[in-house]
């Protein structure tokens, strides 16, 4: 097991194990300092962000919406966790010089070419479907995958199984015919 990977990153085993320690420390620290155990997650923050944006244009719609009311549209612990992910990735990539401006990702480029518009349409459509699914299931790979499985939650194991099974199926259909 090498400590560094070919692309200058850390071994995924090492970085992952450290994330496991962070998840434990975070559960402990939030219980001690906030009086409530917090688990890593991300998708609920997209509901809160969508609600905050919608409040600017149609506040009455947000106020009358059952799901927004249930989720509570506000900037909470997890919202700032997601903001922190951006900052942490920026710090890490700038300091190890892996920061790259990229308009179309590899694999996608091999299959669909250099068009930014095509990538935008694919990403928006995929994003709509994925987030509807994540909210329906009440979690994403962070909430269900990491936090759910760490707590030995049945829903975490089943959700991760579905994410990967359907992901493998759709990826084979979408990227199966690549030029390289």
């Amino acid at each position: 097991m090498k400590g560094k990977t070919a692309d200058g990153g850390w071994s995924p085993y090492l970085a992952g194990a450290l994330l496991g320690l962070l998840a434990i420390a975070s559960a402990f620290a939030s219980t001690q300092w906030l009086g409530k155990t917090k688990y890593l997650g991300a998708s609920t923050s997209f509901v809160r962000a969508a609600g905050l944006i919608e409040q600017k244009v149609a506040p009455e719609l947000v106020a009358a919406n059952e799901y927004y009311t249930k989720t509570k549209v506000r900037i909470d612990w997890q919202f700032m966790l997601v903001v922190g992910i951006f900052a942490g990735a920026l710090i890490s990539s700038v300091t190890d010089r892996s920061y790259r401006l990229e308009s179309v990702p590899p694999i996608w480029k091999e299959r669909f070419g250099n068009s930014v518009l095509k990538r935008a349409v694919g990403a928006v459509l995929g994003g709509v479907v994925a987030m509807m699914g994540a909210r329906m299931a009440s979690g994403c790979p962070s909430g269900h995958g990491l936090s759910g499985m760490m707590q030995l939650s049945v829903s975490g194991f089943v959700a991760m199984g579905m994410f990967f099974m359907v992901g493998i199926l759709v990826a084979a259909l979408v990227y199966g015919r690549r030029s390289s």
């Binding site: 194990a17 903001v83 942490g88 990735a89 994003g127 790979p141 707590q151 359907v166």
Partner: protein
């Protein structure tokens, strides 16, 4: 900022740092995993779970922390999980990694983020419909594997460790 916002921010910075160091934020790593060509994200996630599940179980059994399991609502987890899996393969990011990818310069992640914000708003609009259909099918509640299987948490953890280590050996042997 309040103390919960500060704690969230600091935890998030460390989370993002580790995601970036593990090189798991990238589109090609996520799609590479579902194409069964590059198992980096699975190695990363499973390693986090292997370590995390021990600490979380010890602290929860000692009543130092509370658990917060998500409900095993059959329709929600199966259909929601399937929709997420399909959308994820096309988008190439999950919610947390899209934000991190933006942080490491992959600015096209902004399209995925816009899509997910639209998806969240759409879900909020359609929630009453889902609540009376998919979500109303069958809910087993916030169950854990140990209770479901009638074994100790440590048996589940031991089996998971053996299975994950076997998978790691397989990945390394195949160069995935």
């Amino acid at each position: 900022m309040s103390s919960d916002q500060w704690l969230g921010l600091v935890t998030g910075i460390l989370f993002g740092f580790l995601l970036q160091k593990g090189r798991v934020l990238r589109f090609e790593k996520q799609v590479g995993a579902v194409l069964l060509e590059d198992m980096t994200i699975l190695k990363f996630m499973l390693s986090a779970i292997l370590v995390g599940m021990i600490g979380i179980t010890v602290l929860a059994e000692a009543d130092v922390i509370a658990t917060s399991r998500k409900s095993m609502n059959l329709g929600a987890v199966l259909l929601g999980g399937a929709l997420f899996g399909g959308g994820w393969a096309i988008m190439g990011f999950c919610p947390g990694t899209s934000i991190g990818a933006l942080g490491e310069g992959r600015w096209h992640a902004v399209f995925a983020i816009i899509g997910m914000l639209l998806g969240a708003a759409l879900y909020a609009e359609l929630y009453p419909f889902f609540k009376s259909t998919v979500l109303a099918w069958q809910d087993f509640g916030k169950i854990g594997l140990p209770e479901a299987l009638g074994v100790s948490a440590w048996v589940v953890i031991a089996v998971f460790w053996v299975a994950a280590l076997a998978l790691f050996l397989f990945f390394e042997k195949k160069g995935l």
